[in-house]
Amino acid sequence: MAILAVDNVSKRFGGLVAVDSVSFSVAEGEILGIIGPNGAGKTTLFGLISGFMPPSAGDVKFDGASIVGVAPHLLVRRGLSRSFQIVQTFADMSTLDVVTTAALVRRPLLEAIDYAGHVLARVGLQGKEHLTPKQLSLQDKKLLEVAKCVATDPRLVLLDEVMAGLTLAETEAPLAVIRELNAQGVTIVMIEHVMPVIMRLAQRMIVLNFGAKIAEGTPQEIVENKAVVDAYFGDHVDA
């Protein structure tokens, strides 16, 4: 059964249709990539799935049950966790405190503190437990975004451009973590602009353009798809 089923979901902001009747589903254990030009509606789609905004139309099912209208923190408790494209900083908390808060979702405090330390080490932030997120480099901030997701013990993670702005060498650490997570059975949906990265990682991809899904298939099928190439290189006529 699909762990996530997005069914004809739309989001309108005034006159702008940011997400336009998008449907897709994700099987348990899969890695699905989402790509699309800037402003295509990818982040908005994540907001709709993770409960941060209500869709204007359509339905989202997690584990077979509709989750439209369910508050984000309750979805986290049910195993649906997301990261933010714009790295979220906490002014006064150390990275350890932040990740501990995430770990509290499923653990008592002392265990959560312990587990948070492990998670930080696992994503490669060992030794930086007592820095505040603001003191971290962009690469480390992105790793912290991943660590926060991991610490909630999710079954499905939505990762929004956790590798944007990193050099190809810097993507190795988050890539390894994502692979490891997936190997443990966690389902992953990731938005990524860095094509070589997502091509290597994703088993299946969907492409958004102007809010609508314009293609779906294996990475190989996607790079050969004419509509996708047009969307990226502007060789299309606006309706």
Binding site: S50, F52, A71, P72, H73, L74, V76, R77, S81, R82, S83, F84, Q88, T89, F90, A91, D92, M93, D97, V98, T100, T101, A102, L104, V105, L109, L110, A112, I113, K148, A151, T152
Partner: protein
């Protein structure tokens, strides 16, 4: 609770300070004991406010409402209906808890930002003052005189100066202890994450309504109880002092100077500033009214420029530099 909670409790420092505090009434003349008692009241108020304003980072200006409820309602119940003031204290605390929960719900429901939250809570406090002044049962504009304190504890009477001082010392210790307990427990983690970033907090599983309501209710109950003790201590429930938003401003100021969000900072701020204000009010109140506010203002500017995290974070940074 984190182990450092118990470590702090078992360390000699709090006990030393408490012991020194407890013998003060035996050493100090009445006037200074009065100043110290008022200081403790403000230290406890700043500490109780810190749960919402510091740890959860929501600048609540509603707190004079809770002090007012604790003071005016329990006094009215006693004076007008003969209700035992212990019961009155509990009734007022319950009313404060409900109002606090309502404020949190409004905040959550309408997703108020920090500024709107401050303004709306201020509006609540203003309305409460107007309501008290217009309500005969609550003493109206002239307030309520309480019966003389005969030291009968069953009647919420603590025997005037010394007794009230010891009660306030205990209450202040309790408020600081509650702060420490929150900071070293899951609630503290949740509140701190919300303070910094509500969306990101939700994304790591923190429920805003539950945590906001919990913080506000705990803070409101403590504040209300302090209000009851304050009125009993003054033997006069004065709405222009106890239900006035000006009171909240002082609380916020002390907490900010001392250090928002830490367990001890807000009480420390009250200890640094309240005596100065109280002495100036006593010495120069008729010649230069409001002088203490001017001095508070200067101190706040000074402290915020020197150490934006307040006096306590400055002291901590000194400690860190030495070690």
């Amino acid at each position: 609770m984190r182990p450092d909670f118990y470590r702090t409790l078992l360390s000699p420092w709090p006990w030393l300070v408490l012991t020194v505090g407890a013998v003060m009434p035996l050493l100090l003349p009445n006037y200074y004991l009065h100043i110290l008692t008022v200081t403790l009241i403000y230290a406890a108020l700043a500490s109780a406010w810190n749960i919402v304003g510091g740890i959860a980072g929501q600048i609540s200006l509603a707190h004079s409402l809770f002090v007012g409820a604790g003071a005016m309602l329990s006094s009215a119940l006693l004076v007008k209906l003969g209700v035992n003031m212990w019961l009155g204290m509990l009734a007022a605390a319950a009313v404060s808890a409900v109002i606090g929960a309502l404020v949190s719900f409004i905040d959550y429901r309408f997703r108020l930002g920090h500024l709107s939250f401050a303004l709306i809570t201020l509006a609540f406090a203003e309305m409460a003052e107007i309501y008290v002044i217009g309500t005969d049962f609550l003493g109206g504009a002239s307030g309520l005189f309480l019966p003389r304190d005969t030291g009968d504890i069953t009647q919420f009477q603590f025997g005037g100066g010394r007794g009230a001082y010891w009660v306030m010392l205990g209450m202040t210790a309790l408020c600081i202890l509650v702060n420490l307990a929150i900071l070293t427990s899951p609630l503290g983690y949740n509140l701190r994450s919300m303070r910094d970033n509500e969306n990101a907090a939700q994304a790591i599983g923190v429920g805003l309504l539950r945590n906001k309501t919990l913080a506000m209710t705990i803070s409101a109950v403590l504040t209300s109880i302090i209000g009851t003790i304050y009125a009993r201590y003054l033997t006069f429930a004065d709405p222009y002092l106890l239900a006035s938003p000006v009171l909240t401003i002082e609380i916020v100021l002390f907490a900010t100077v001392g250090g928002l969000g830490s367990a001890i900072g807000p009480a420390l701020g009250a200890f640094l500033l309240a005596p100065v204000g109280e002495i100036l009010r006593g010495q120069l109140g008729d010649k230069l009214p409001g002088l203490h506010y001017f001095i508070y203002g200067l101190v706040v500017i000074g402290v915020i420029l020197a150490s934006p995290g307040g006096v306590w974070s400055f002291i901590k940074s000194l400690g860190r530099r030495r070690s």
